[in-house]
């Protein structure tokens, strides 16, 4: 019996010791690979980089709607304006907004006003782009993880937030800051003046969308324009890297390797090659490639390439041009765009200012592409271009803005406001029959939202217009 008692004592003590030692033995779950916090500069690096990609991601879809690009395959859903699943783009937009929310929170805590301002401007841009393509989206219940099924906010109310974020951003950028932005900023490398100009330029862009609504105020837009970009030098771009190619360059390289993409719409080719308009645009050979025979041949949206082979018989994006070099910049907002905004806004009240801005916009884009002075002057001198202040129409402005904004998603906002009234533009072949012969007016909510947050996703059709396009 003695032995048994001793044994029990030893066992009991052993088990007790083991259990108490357990706590520290088992306390090894801290993540050794990923930090629980990240520096604000690293967050800005990724946010500037990803924002430029978000512009490109949306542009890669809307370029088919506005007929810059056409699919080589017949009945391709992006050409025919079928509902497409935008789960990836949606994720990217909210992923950046999540990080921007972190930047704003951290900057407020630490008095890093420049980060705060830049974060607010980028938040306004990403939120504004999201609203422009989807309409109502979640925002007020986002990022705080109080619900896994955030409700959707009204798009018009979100626009108030976009403008407010821009105003706050501009104001904060003018404050003292506890931490300065530097090379971690892929857009401006820390130039605060440029950030302020970007804030104003974006304000002009988003306010322009509201033209035709009750809140629209021409002078407000022109004031924003005046404080915005002053030259191409001020453009908001992210220049790509040897380690990471520009995504349009990648499209062109892939197409050359027979992963087809980046085929040019017949609409675009014919607008610049003298078919739809009397002039031959000198920018055409700087923007797109030719067939093996050296001709510019577009592809009809929705029709596919027909019997054309997969290479050499159609114009496509080709590697090495302004938009498609491996280290080309991705354009977020440009001086050229701002000039066309000015032209459109001033057109009714001050045609002289509008005409000057229109010409300046063309010139700015040609300078960007390095069009020779001779070609530039020849084009600007063509009577179909230099129509004079008195004869300038919205059509002229929209046509030139359409060219100058090649591949940019802002063109789809223009197109919807302009009712797709570009010269000779027709609905694609094999148009989605649900559109009843009309052009698409919004994107479908992504499958990921429908499957994860279905109860909150608004019931909409692709013909339902978002608030500023009523």
């Amino acid at each position: 019996m003695k032995f048994k008692n001793k044994l029990y004592t030893i066992l009991g003590a052993g088990i007790l010791l083991t259990t108490s030692a357990c706590d520290s033995f088992l306390d090894v779950n801290e993540n050794p690979n990923s930090p629980e916090d990240a520096p604000i500069s690293g967050l800005l690096t990724n946010s500037t980089y990803e924002t430029s990609l978000n512009v490109q991601r949306i542009g890669s879809t809307t370029s088919n709607y506005v007929q810059y690009l056409a699919s080589p395959n017949p009945g391709s859903s992006s050409d025919t304006m079928d509902p497409v699943n935008f789960s990836g783009t949606w994720f990217s937009l909210y992923n950046v907004m999540t990080d921007l929310n972190e930047i704003i929170r951290k900057a407020e805590e630490s008095g890093a006003n420049h980060y705060l301002g830049a974060g607010q401007i980028l938040m306004a841009l990403n939120l504004g782009m999201t609203v422009d393509i989807f309409g109502d989206v979640p925002f007020s219940e986002s990022f705080n993880f109080e619900t896994v099924t955030p409700s959707y906010d009204n798009d018009e109310e979100l626009y108030v937030q976009v403008i407010s974020l821009l105003d706050q951003g501009i104001a904060n950028l003018q404050e003292e800051t506890s931490i300065s932005i530097g090379a971690d900023d892929f857009i401006y490398g820390g130039s605060i003046d440029n950030w302020i100009k970007l804030g104003h330029s974006l304000k002009a862009r988003f306010l322009l969308h509201t033209k035709g609504t009750s809140t629209y105020n021409e002078n407000e837009v022109l004031a924003a324009v005046a404080s915005g970009f002053q030259s191409n030098e001020d453009d908001a771009t992210v220049t790509f890297f040897e380690q990471r190619f520009n995504p349009w360059a990648q499209v062109a390289i892939n197409n050359a390797n027979l992963l087809l993409g980046g085929w040019i719409s017949e609409q675009f080719v014919q607008a610049l090659d003298g078919t739809s308009y009397p002039t031959v645009d000198p920018r055409l050979p700087l923007m797109i490639g030719t067939t093996d025979e050296g001709e510019f041949v577009g592809t009809v949206n929705g029709a596919g390439r027909g019997d054309a082979p997969e290479q050499g018989a159609r114009s496509t994006l080709i590697p090495g041009q302004y938009y498609t070099s491996t280290t080309s910049p991705l354009l977020i907002a440009t001086f050229a765009e701002l000039k066309f905004i000015e032209a459109e806004v001033a057109l009714s009240s001050d045609p002289g200012r509008a005409y000057a801005a229109y010409l300046a916009g063309i010139e700015a884009h040609m300078d960007m592409l390095n069009v020779s002075e001779e070609d530039k002057q020849a084009y600007l001198a063509d009577p179909s271009v230099s129509v004079g202040a008195g004869a300038l129409t919205l059509d002229d402005i929209m046509k030139e803005k359409w060219v100058a904004m090649f591949l940019h998603p802002e063109t789809w906002n223009d197109a919807r406001r302009f009712d797709y009234a570009y010269k000779d533009m027709t609905t694609p072949e094999n148009l989605n029959p649900d559109l009843n012969g009309n052009y698409i007016r919004r994107l479908a909510y992504p499958d990921s939202e429908v499957s994860r947050n279905g109860a909150n996703v608004p019931e909409v059709t692709l013909l339902d217009r978002i608030w500023w396009n009523q």
Binding site: G42, F186, S451
Partner: protein, 1028 residues
């Protein structure tokens, strides 16, 4: 809570009190076996009706005191028939024990390496012995289980040397797409790592780590299926366990065994291919075209430079494997030892694919005294090889022109010879990926029995490996006109270090209360730790061509991932045996895991099972030899992966860019209040033997529910996260397992044994989470909108494959499943109309599978064969999609035909329009563009989701054992020569390579996608076994 369990275990121990009796008659003697007459140690001797007992010593002797001369001594030993002797006036009683003929009394190794009589188990368990393992000639022991065990589904991921195989017991139990659904592997009582670490880039067909074990070292493998069988291994065995027992030395003469086997592998099956059309497009020949086979009719060209090259046969080699092993074993009363050395060299059928394995093992047992013994074992393994990029190889085969010689791949200066496209063999040769694994698996066991009713045991196990991988893709050599594999070239060095340590201490208390009641109680503590560290450095752009070192690259990226997981468990296991016909087993375990939140990291789960051998309780008709009913109920908890709680920031892989490192909040959020998962399983079974064991039958029904699953729930990206790891969802598996076997003929020297097993499994996703409709397990590319996706949805079975299909006007509104019997809609142009709407096209999990094994012996000859099958599943055939896109499939020989597609027009009338299948302008003047297969067929997923049932002759072996009369005249103890063939008959509706292939590798759950996997092989072996 933790402490109260510990106390309750102590309390249970206290139940076992002792009340010794005094004896009057002393009896002694020796127990021997009837077979070889050798003394039998460890035989239990009990005085019937008392608690008095003794055990024979190592020399088979015993001494026992009996109360009177009327006392009856009962001699029993596992696997032998129980003997009864009345004491009478004998002071010496020698007993000869004979083996029980029936396999019903077979011994099965269960938790912690404890041998148990199968008869006593209250749950289904099956084991296979060394012969059944080595006969299959499988180098991966997982494959050796194929078709041999009910409820166990083993799938090869492909035919590469050393390629992983996946094992699933009783269905998939987790909704987590990345969950490990495979069982725990335990070698000699110590859990070992069986993970598969796939390559980062293109699939390379890596090994599952259990492939390191040399099958020749294995004595037996038992499969413990339900949670009942595995409650004692804790959370890690929630998917079942495979218990491997290695060979040990035996007392007696030193034995030397030598095995040598030479094998040859061939492609078992390939898709039906066209051989009539060559390189070019639109029916026009072009010898530099990208298009491999949309060109001219070869016969019409009648040109020796434009002939069918039969590349799909000639690109593959005959694989060779050469396996040698030698073992030495022996021992005496005090110690035994076993040592072995094995070497396997294997070359696969894709050129330059290799794998080799060198293993050395030493184990021994030492009996220090009657009370104390210890044993240990150490296994060193070196394995690895060159893993060819099989997926890319087969993709490049797709692009390679049928009229260009694929074997003519290299120029004299070492650059690639090609007409334009990348040559697959050149790529396989120079784009290398070599792994080199050094692994040590060791264990030490101590057993101390201070009294005859108590044993203290301790076992420490270590499984430590380093996996060193080097991937090289050369850049340009700087030779004019070369076609390099990469414009920059790169080298990637990966170093993986993994270490598992298991510590297990337990006390066994045994008590034979009287001849009716027998109990044994085991109480223990189990500690586990896994440390894993992986460092990867990638250098690209070689400064000096073909000098492959990180120092010679102009850009270097590095990354690291490490983890640590610890588990502490306390357990108890009580077995009660009443009159040797009623067996009750109750277990309880409490685990504490480092991976769960501290407030929820300790969890308890119990099990109970009952076995009732009614044939020993009732008198049954003569022809019923044995009958048993069993029932079990068990729960098992499950923790999660380490380091997932809360939210983190990550630096996306693209950084650094221009010296800047960006950060982003990780889109996964781990619930800080995570609870352990709980799996509850219920099992009923019956086992019968008839006609003196000529026929036996074992039937099991099981039902397993896994609740509170820890899964990454996909949530709205607008929350700031995309995935929320939390407790959600339930999955159910239920099914039947039937094992039928017997010895239909045993006459003279002839014997025929047969064993068959059949399993049916039904899976249902009971729930996911409120508001969450689906979980995507994975998806695979298909051309022009034929991508397929495996999606889990509530109320459906695991494994549904979704994709595009033809429009069928007759389908009811809102239909989710494709009904292929309905007529297709034919468009105005005469071709069927496609819809991108995602419908369920099939399910990738088999509803039935099983195997049949036959063994015939006549004198020294043995003939055996193993057939296995699976049925009721579909797979996505990515090969088929590519073949149709490039005009390589046999069907494309119809390319100059007119057809009328059966179906209905939009107005409901039958289609009668004739259309041409070729490319360009048809004879009817209509322009058909890229033609039927490229414009229509390849873009419709339903064309490629097809039945993947099969029946395989997995193995057939003919062996001859030298007869005693002959062998006596040789220096050998045994000699055997055998011829075997694997997988030589394959019957399947599947048109393609062997359907038993999937691209995810054993670690992945997206099993329904073949990808461009390493094609399956058939093999032929000649094997020599010699014993000294």
């Amino acid at each position: 809570m933790k402490k109260s369990y510990a106390y309750s275990l102590l309390f249970l121990m206290g139940l076992l009190c002792f009340n010794p009796l005094y004896a009057q008659v002393s009896v002694s003697g020796t127990v021997t076996t009837s077979g070889d007459g050798l003394p039998l140690p460890g035989v239990s001797i009990v005085v019937e009706g008392t608690t008095q007992g003794a055990v024979t010593s190592i020399d088979g002797t015993y001494t026992i005191s009996a109360p009177s001369t009327e006392s009856v001594l009962v001699f029993s030993f596992i696997g032998y028939e129980t003997q009864r002797r009345t004491v009478g006036n004998n002071s010496t009683i020698n007993v000869v024990m004979s083996e029980e003929a029936s396999e019903l009394n077979e011994v099965i190794v269960t938790a912690f390496g404890i041998s148990q009589e199968k008869k006593a188990l209250g749950y289904a368990a099956q084991s296979i012995d060394s012969e059944a393992i080595t006969k299959t000639r499988q180098q991966n022991v997982v494959n050796a289980l194929q078709g041999q065990v009910a409820g166990v589904q083993v799938t090869n991921s492909g035919g590469a040397p050393g390629q992983s195989a996946r094992i699933i017991i009783r269905g998939i139990n987790s909704l987590d797409p990345s969950a490990n659904n495979q069982p725990l592997f335990v070698v000699d009582g110590v859990p070992v790592d069986n993970s598969t670490v796939e390559s980062g880039g293109t699939p390379r067909g890596m090994s599952n780590r259990i492939a390191d074990i040399n099958p020749n070292d294995i004595e037996s493998m038992s499969v413990l299926k339900g949670a009942a069988a595995t409650a004692l291994y804790g959370v890690r065995a929630a998917n079942g366990a495979v218990i491997i027992t290695t060979k040990k030395g035996k007392e007696g003469q030193i034995r030397v065994d030598f095995n040598s086997s030479l094998g040859f592998d061939q492609l078992v099956k390939k898709p039906k291919l066209q051989d009539e059309y060559g390189q070019g497009f639109s029916g026009e020949r072009n010898d530099t075209s990208f298009w491999p086979s949309w060109g001219a009719n070869i016969a019409d060209e009648n040109d020796p430079d434009y002939v069918y090259q039969d590349n799909w046969t000639r690109a593959f080699d005959t694989g060779i494997q050469f396996d040698n092993s030698i073992s030495v074993s022996g021992g005496n009363e005090a110690a035994t030892f076993y040592g072995s050395f094995g070497r396997l060299d294997q070359n696969g059928i894709i050129p330059f694919s290799t794998w080799d394995r060198t293993s050395a093992k030493l184990s021994g047992t030492i009996k220090v005294s009657e009370k104390f013994n210890f044993s240990g074992s150490m296994n060193y393994i070196n394995s690895g090889g060159n893993r060819v990029p099989h997926d890319r190889f087969l993709e490049r085969m797709m692009y390679w022109a049928e009229t260009q010689d694929v074997r003519d791949y290299i120029n004299e200066d070492g650059t690639m010879r090609t007409y334009g496209n990348t040559n697959p063999i050149y790529d396989a040769r120079f784009a290398t990926y070599e792994d080199n694994v050094n692994r040590i698996i060791g264990n030490i066991n101590l057993n101390y029995s201070p009294t005859d009713w108590m044993t203290l045991s301790y076992r420490l196990g270590v499984d430590n490996y380093s996996d060193s991988r080097t991937e090289i893709t050369p850049g340009p050599k700087g030779i004019d006109g070369e076609r390099p594999l990469s414009s920059t070239g790169f080298i990637e060095e990966t170093r993986i270090n993994s270490r598992d340590i298991t510590s297990n201490f337990y006390i066994t208390l045994q008590k034979e209360w009287n001849s009716d009641w027998n109990t044994s109680l085991r109480l223990g503590n189990d500690i586990f730790e896994r440390k894993f560290d992986r460092v990867t450095a990638t250098g690209s752009n070689f400064v000096i061509p073909d000098f492959f070192n990180l120092n010679n690259t102009s850009q270097i990226f590095a990354s690291q991932g490490k983890s640590i997981r610890r588990l502490v468990g306390f357990y108890g296991d009580l077995m009660v045996d009443y009159k040797n016909f009623l067996f009750l087993n109750v277990t309880g375990r409490n685990d504490i895991s480092s991976t769960l939140p501290k407030s929820n990291n300790s969890f308890f789960y119990p099990s109970v099972n009952l076995g009732y051998v009614f044939s020993e309780n009732f008198t049954l008709p003569d022809w019923v030899t044995f009958g048993k009913l069993r029932a079990s109920w068990a729960q098992v908890g499950k923790d999660t992966n380490p380091h997932i709680l809360g939210s983190f920031f990550v630096s996306p892989g693209v950084f650094p860019l221009d010296g800047q490192v960006g950060f982003s909040r990780n889109s996964t959020f781990g619930d800080p209040n995570l609870r352990p998962e709980l799996t509850t399983s219920l099992e009923f079974g019956a086992q019968f033997a008839f006609f003196n064991n000529r026929v036996n039958l074992d039937v099991t029904y099981y039902k397993t529910n896994s609740k509170d699953q820890i899964i990454p729930v996909p949530i709205s990206d607008a929350t700031g996260f995309s995935s929320y790891i939390t407790n959600a969802g339930e999955i159910e598996n239920r099914g039947w397992e039937i094992v039928v076997g017997g010895t239909p003929i045993e006459k003279g020297n002839f014997r025929w044994d047969v064993s068959a097993n059949l399993t049916s499994n039904t899976n249902e996703i009971v729930g996911i989470r409120e508001g969450i409709e689906e979980i995507v397990v994975g998806s695979q590319f298909g051309y022009a909108g034929s991508r397929v996706t495996m999606i889990l949805q509530e109320g459906q079975a695991y494994g549904n494959i979704f994709g595009s299909s033809y429009v069928r006007p007759g389908a009811p509104e809102g239909t989710t499943e494709l009904d292929r019997s309905l007529p297709q809609l034919i468009g105005a142009n005469g071709f069927p109309v496609r819809t991108g709407e995602q419908l369920i096209l099939g399910n990738a999990v088999p509803k039935f599978f099983g195997g049949l094994r036959n063994d015939f012996t006549y004198k020294g000859f043995e003939l055996s064969f193993l057939i296995d099958f699976r049925a009721g599943l579909q797979q996505y055939d990515q090969f088929g999609n590519f073949l149709s896109a490039f005009g390589k499939q046999e069907d494309s020989e119809r390319r100059n035909d007119f057809v009328v597609f059966p179906g209905v027009l939009a107005d409901g009338s039958q289609n009668t329009q004739e259309v041409w299948l070729g490319q360009g302008e048809g004879p009817d003047g209509v322009n058909y563009g890229a033609g039927y297969w490229r414009n229509y067929y390849r873009g419709v997923s339903e064309n490629f989701v097809k039945d993947a049932d099969f029946i395989k002759l997995r193995n057939i072996t003919l062996a001859y054992n030298l007869q005693p009369s002959v062998i006596e005249r040789t220096p050998f103890r045994t000699a055997r020569i055998s011829l075997a063939a694997n997988n030589i008959i394959l019957s399947t509706p599947w048109d393609g390579f062997d359907p038993e292939s999937f691209s995810a590798g054993a670690g992945g759950n997206a099993v329904g996608f073949t990808g461009l996997g390493f094609p399956g092989v058939q093999s032929y072996f000649v094997t020599l076994n010699l014993g000294l």
